[in-house]
């Protein structure tokens, strides 16, 4: 993924490509819309230097819905602000449509941002807010009027055109912010936790809405969020960030099903984490992981850098684990345990099961019509899951 800086002779060709791409945004046809090459952002605080972003490589394709996901302080917002041009990287290169824009100010970059606080201009009407960018670009007046009208229709705010932002609800302000950015038809739209200030219901409907708008306009979306649910439901691809670095990059399913690091396993959804020693491969190619106290689990494959004899974490999602009173048979990870707690959740029941080695395993069991409470507190149960549902991670 890391490429060295293109020689300057390639520049004109890339720019021409860029111009043609603006008429018909077609993913997959050209190179990446946004690429970051070994981007570092360091801040001085007193005598210390803090690396907010510690060397990030990313390629975001045209038309892609891409999320930067991570806890606060992980560097995701700084990364986005470097794409927008509000921050300059300390090291590395930022490219938009192949053009090196490092050092180019925000007002000369073909990306637009939707701010977390919306940052709508309070002294202007909704209409004037949306027209702001086009006016600066000196688009003819008649065309501005037409595009602003169309955009306000797209976000269903045509009837609010003459209102001031303060007269709108949070969700409506959100949509004005979106319209104000989208109307410029930028190469990419940057969204900084845009739904953070909305309540749960509205947030969910806006997620669907955002996805619809993104499909309709076909513009690359870069979405910054700390909400894993949001990232998983909306994105084509997700970069999970921690401590200024990308921990894992992949589709939502890859990130969820196959977390590459312990951080990702912890951060995305709920994961059970068991610690043990990797044993030799069996006939089916599964590796046994000895968890102590005669407990053994199976993993389908080992990641690079782990081999038999190493200590490893083993992850398994709570919904992949079966719970039963009988010992199941077959080529499964099979562990005995004692129910420590049951939580009835309506559509599912959650169990906390203690193992002999002291570990606790969380199990989600769907409450389908034929299954009721499998076991109560204190009862002995058997847990089982297929080897492909657990992954070994380096300790």
């Amino acid at each position: 993924m890391v490429t060295t800086a293109n020689s300057s002779t390639e520049e004109p060709a890339v720019t021409a490509q860029d111009a043609s791409a603006q008429d018909s945004p077609n993913p997959s046809e050209q190179g990446p819309e946004i690429s970051l090459e070994r981007v570092v952002k360091a801040y001085r605080t007193g005598s210390d230097t803090v690396r907010a972003v510690g060397g990030v490589d990313l390629e975001i394709a045209r038309g892609e819905f891409f999320s930067l996901l991570g806890p606060s302080g992980c560097g995701k917002t700084t990364t986005m602000r470097m794409i927008a041009g509000f921050e300059e990287p300390t090291e590395g290169v930022v490219r938009l449509s192949g053009r090196d824009v490092t050092g180019v100010p925000a007002n000369r970059r073909d990306v637009n941002m939707v701010f977390q606080s919306y940052a709508l201009f309070p002294h202007m009407t909704v209409e004037a807010n949306v027209a702001f960018g086009l006016e600066r670009k000196r688009v003819p007046k008649a065309e501005i009027r037409r595009r602003v009208g169309e955009m306000l229709e797209l976000v269903e705010l045509g009837h609010r055109a003459k209102h001031r932002p303060a007269q709108l609800s949070g969700g409506q302000q959100q949509r004005v912010a979106l319209a104000r950015a989208l109307v410029n038809e930028p190469g990419a739209l940057l969204l900084d936790e845009p739904l953070g200030a909305l309540d749960l219901k509205l947030r969910q409907s806006m997620q669907v809405e955002l996805k619809r708008i993104q499909r309709e306009v076909g513009i690359t979306f870069v979405y910054v969020t700390h909400d894993q649910g949001e990232a998983l439901t909306m994105s084509d691809r997700v970069a999970v960030m921690n401590n200024g670095l990308v921990e894992q990059l992949g589709t939502p399913a890859e990130i969820y099903e196959r977390p590459a690091t312990r951080f990702v396993a912890d951060f995305i959804g709920t994961s059970n984490l068991l610690t043990g020693t990797i044993g030799a491969a069996d006939a089916a190619g599964h590796h046994r992981v000895e968890l102590g106290h005669d407990l053994t689990a199976l993993v389908a494959e080992l990641p690079k850098g782990l081999s038999a004899g190493d200590r490893a974490h083993l992850t398994v999602r709570p919904e992949k684990v079966r719970i039963g009173l009988e010992r199941p048979g077959g080529d499964l990870s099979i562990l005995p345990g004692t129910v420590a707690e049951t939580v009835y959740m309506g559509s599912a029941t959650h169990y906390q099961v203690s193992l002999a080695n002291g570990a606790e395993v969380t199990v989600y069991q769907q409450n389908s019509s034929d299954s009721t409470l499998v076991a109560g507190r204190g009862e002995a149960v058997w847990l089982s899951w297929a080897p492909r549902h657990s992954y070994a991670l380096p300790v």
């Binding site: 041009g85 007002n107 201009f121 600066r136 950015a181």
Partner: protein, 284 residues
Amino acid sequence: MRNRTTTPYVLVLPAWIWLALFFVVPIGGMLSLSLTTGNVVTGFQQTFEVGNYVTAVSTYWEQILRSLFYGACATLLCIAVGYPMAYWIAFRAGPHKSTYLLLILLPFFVSFVLRTISWRFLLADNGVVLGSLKSVGLVPADLQLLNSAPAVVMGLAYNFLPFMVLPIYAVLERMDPRLVEAAHDLYAGRFQAFVRVILPVSLPGVFAGVLMTFIPTSADYVNASVLGGTHNTMIGNVIQTQYLVNNNYPIAASITFVLMGLLLAGIFSYARALGTERVMEVHT
């Protein structure tokens, strides 16, 4: 139990009493005084003599207009000097904001009159400023600032500058820096971002600053008497003389009301021109 709804009224009662005693009563007294005839020896009779106002305007229209003009000039000077100061402190001073605010307020620890008198030394024909400028030939050798209109305007602007800086600073400081970023993001350069976003959003602060400088500068008499010499008297000087020297209370009171009326009219048309809605709006 006392009714909860009466509590707020009880709490504002001291303020009402204060205002009634020290604002409404004196204003009423002044109003009645402005409609009397007589003199200190024979006493003043309530004759509802409207002629006092005619006399006041016809005799002193020149000083009234001059006061409004000086006040306007000083206010504009305050905006020109104060806005950049406020802007710089709000956006560029980093962790030292309060230090700079303190520096702006520091001269106020010295009495108003003393500060004004010190400007006599600054503006003296061969003083620190003019003397040095003349010796290097930057200004003509016969230039005189003291006892001139510019001296009065500069003195006024100097004395009331903080009243312009502080409200503008308060608005800029509270402004969401993302607004400026949004303007840049939407292709505005620094100048466009300032003209289209920062300036309009800070207008309520400018409006407050204008109120707090234009009213006191127009009515001021200290600067004119200390720095203005005999040819630049303002209406404040006239009122002072009529009251304290000539003891012509009816005329002094009617000039006061003429000035108050003009200032109020000016403020309201100014608010209207800016758009009251815009000026009164509270930005968060």
